[in-house]
């Protein structure tokens, strides 16, 4: 604070000035999008020094291997990789680079829910003229739809995030839960049972994973947004429907009764809780075990304690499958060489060695059909889940039932507001229904400020 923060008022402005002032300058071989950052200071080793270097931002935990695989297999182009943050921190950097018209990487890892927001700013390159359709056959229609708008393809899909219920088998056994809950009603009942017996909280309603809550809202039948880039100015926002209210109320009540935790996820405290069995279940995606293992969960005394079951349903007769995360590689419009960058975007994490490493460490749930249909993948006994054949039994059926989702062009803002509402629910300052109504008003106001016509 004090003197030093006098700077902090000025700092954003200084930065903005510096970036804007240089925007038109050096190295102007690129198109309208500005200039990409130079591919120097790679985290990885460049194998072929003379080849064209393409700067990549990505955060997959096994990215070092993936980049090495790519560079060893290509002599004409080399990937120069940097980890610019996992999710939101990376998007913030990319967004700033777009505003500055300078400093973006050539290729960037983006989650499916972020694509539209960048497409509308003309920040991504259409990969269709650069061979994207050659790899189309490797993916399901749904997966391909998530990365394209009509005939335009804005990213190469890598992994998806079919959701399921990860749980601690030891906690379930200790408190006499014989079968994992199949419905959300059973989930709440089991949560009460464990708590009444003096057990740990059943799950977690973390405010910093609004994408999970959104997925759960969609599972109940909510459709928060209707938006099509072909009709750029019109958007439908429906966040105050009964389904959204029901889901927020459901989790709000669990949190109020102390049946689920209120902690933000991925923090050191949260991971420590996962290790110690503080949470009986973890509503999460197929890629989660890879990140948890990387953080030290499921090792040592905890080895083999985790298991996974299909995501609980609202109506078991009409199960709905939902998705959290999953990423793709896009080429930014600041790149100087679209063809070389497209080659990296389409080729990175697309080779067998990388994909195999990815699914074996459960860092990714691959979308490549060749892997999804392979016997190795389907019959794999996963260590983290004590040898359960989770791909065949849980995740592949979930992925096959997933119908895709529609995202707004201001996902970052929407998530921030939902996060604030979840925090308020957890602190008992609002109810789920009220949060849904407030959220609707905030998002509609924002959409109008941004120049959209809200239906």
């Amino acid at each position: 604070m004090r003197f030093r923060t006098t700077l902090s008022v000025v700092a954003p402005v200084v930065l903005a000035l510096g970036l804007a002032a240089c925007g038109g300058g050096d190295d102007s071989s690129s198109g309208s999008g500005g200039t990409a950052a130079k591919a120097t200071n790679c985290t990885n080793k460049i194998v072929h020094e003379d080849a064209k270097k393409v700067l990549v931002w990505a955060w997959y935990p096994n990215m070092a291997k993936v980049v090495d695989n790519f560079n060893n297999q290509h002599t004409d182009v080399q990937a120069c990789w940097t980890n610019a943050g996992q999710g939101q921190p990376e998007y913030a950097k990319f967004q700033t680079a777009i505003s500055a018209k300078k400093g973006a990487p050539d290729v960037i890892m983006l989650e499916a829910d972020q694509l539209v927001g960048f497409e509308i700013q003309d920040a991504l390159v259409d990969l269709a003229p650069y061979g994207a359709n050659d790899v189309k056959k490797n993916f399901s229609d749904g997966a391909w739809k998530d990365v394209s708008q009509g005939d335009k393809v804005f990213a190469a899909p890598v992994d998806g995030g079919p959701m399921a219920l990860i749980y601690r088998a030891d906690v379930f056994a200790k408190y006499g839960i014989k079968t994992p809950p199949k419905t959300w009603d059973e989930y709440a009942a089991d949560a009460k049972k464990v708590k009444d017996a003096g057990g740990p909280v059943f799950g977690d309603f973390g405010s910093n994973v609004p994408a999970v809550t959104t997925a759960l809202m969609i599972q109940k039948g909510a459709q928060p947004f209707v938006y099509d880039l072909g009709d750029k100015k019109n958007i439908t926002v429906k966040l105050d429907d009964q389904n959204t209210k029901d889901v927020l109320d459901y989790w709000g009540n669990l949190s109020k009764q102390g049946l689920v935790g209120k902690e933000d996820q991925f923090t050191t405290d949260y991971i420590a809780g996962m290790v110690g069995g503080k949470y009986a279940t973890y509503v999460s995606a197929a890629w989660a075990p890879g990140y948890l293992t990387g953080a030290g969960v499921g090792k040592g005394a905890d080895k083999g304690k985790f298991a996974v079951a299909p995501l609980p349903q609202w109506d078991p007769n009409n199960p709905v499958s939902v998705n959290w995360g999953g990423s793709a590689f896009a080429v930014t419009s600041q790149t100087a060489d679209k063809a070389a960058s497209a080659k990296v975007a389409l080729g990175l994490y697309a080779d067998n060695a990388s994909l195999t490493d990815g699914w074996q460490t459960q860092t990714i749930f691959p979308l490549n059909q060749n892997v999804l249909k392979s016997d190795d993948f389907l019959n794999a006994k996963i260590d983290f889940f004590n040898g359960q054949t989770v791909n065949k039994d849980i995740y592949v059926p979930a992925e096959n039932a997933y119908k895709g989702a529609v995202y707004s062009p201001f996902t970052v803002y929407y998530y921030a507001q939902l996060q604030a509402q979840i925090a308020k629910i957890n602190q008992g300052q609002t109810t789920g229904s009220q949060a849904a109504t407030d959220l609707q008003n905030q998002i509609v106001t924002y959409a109008k400020q941004q120049g959209f016509t809200v239906q």
Partner: protein, 313 residues
């Protein structure tokens, strides 16, 4: 201040040695003295401010592109519940944190002024030490101390079989931050007051003692009034600093389970607008609006203290 010094240096040159046209050369010399400062000042303060002012007059929408907005961003800022909420928080915060820091600093300085020897030197260093720790590190350290899983506060509490309150929860975050800020800055203010105390002529104390004043009376009736201008200076510093509250809550945000919101303070809000929502125009307007509030607050304060502190009169 920096402008005057070189000029007076120029006039100090004996008149006889100045050649014809010396006025011009003196002026040039003056500018040369100012130049290094001026360049930095213009490049890193004036130009960014002007540019931000320019930015704040425009508005950019995802679906509309950039259009001229005039003062719309400013009317929007002062009506924005997020901005007002943040402003209200920092005002509430400064009402408590400023007196608290000054009392801690003043008491420490008065005590250190009384005692001598090795203990005094050691205490002085220890009280000053938190200020020597970078704000970010200090905040990270407190984040660890507050942690409900790893933190010593929780561990001590569990020793007595109770649960320690999480000092960053919605209800407690005010006090949690109060503690961090007071810890970090009191030592610095203590040094300022202490330096002012050392500047007082000791014969005044002697005179007071002859008149029958005790140690406490000397402290309260003689020393405190005589360091009044130092206190006024500290007040202005801490007022400006608190209204621009940013670093500590920003660092503690990821572990506060959502109780430190994106609009927690006006500065955090401006940062969030610019770098997460790409609203550089509106963020500039918010920054200027905050600057205006700080200016008004300081002006009011100086008006109130115009008789007492010699510093600003």
């Amino acid at each position: 201040m920096a402008v005057e010094t070189p000029v007076s240096a120029g006039t100090a040159i004996p008149a006889g040695r100045v050649a014809r046209g010396g006025r011009v050369r003196r002026g040039t010399k003056g500018w040369l003295f100012i130049l290094p400062f001026l360049l930095v000042f213009v490049a890193f303060l004036v130009a960014p401010l002007v540019y931000a002012g320019y930015l704040s007059l425009w508005t950019k929408g995802l679906a509309t592109g950039t259009t001229f907005a005039g003062i719309d961003n400013y009317t929007r800022a002062f009506g924005d519940p997020s901005f007002r909420k943040g402003l209200w928080f920092v005002l509430k915060f400064s009402v408590v944190v400023i007196p608290l820091q000054i009392i801690v600093a003043l008491v420490a300085a008065l005590l250190l002024d009384e005692i001598t020897g090795r203990l005094a030197k050691f205490s002085r260093l220890m009280i000053f030490l938190p200020y020597a720790i970078p704000v970010v590190l200090g905040a990270l350290m407190w984040g660890f101390l507050y942690s409900p899983t790893f933190g010593p506060i929780e561990q001590i509490a569990s020793f007595f079989d109770v649960r320690a309150p999480f000092l960053l929860s919605q209800g407690n975050v005010y006090y949690g931050l109060l503690n961090v800020v007071t810890w970090q800055w009191s030592g610095y203010y203590m040094i300022i007051i202490y330096a002012a105390l050392k500047g007082i002529d000791t014969s005044i104390y002697e005179a007071a003692r002859i008149d029958g004043a005790g140690a406490r009376q000397i402290a309260l009736r003689v020393k405190v009034p005589m360091v009044g201008s130092a206190l006024a200076l500290i007040l202005v510093f801490s007022l400006i600093g608190t209204l621009q509250f940013f670093s500590e809550p920003q660092i503690l945000r990821p572990i506060a389970n959502g109780s430190i919101t994106p609009d927690f303070t006006p500065n955090i809000y401006a940062y969030e607008l610019a770098f997460n929502y790409a609203q550089f125009n509106y963020a500039s307007a918010i920054s200027f609006a905050l600057g205006f509030v700080v200016f008004v607050a300081v002006a009011i304060f100086m008006f109130i203290t115009r008789k007492r502190g010699s510093l600003f009169t």
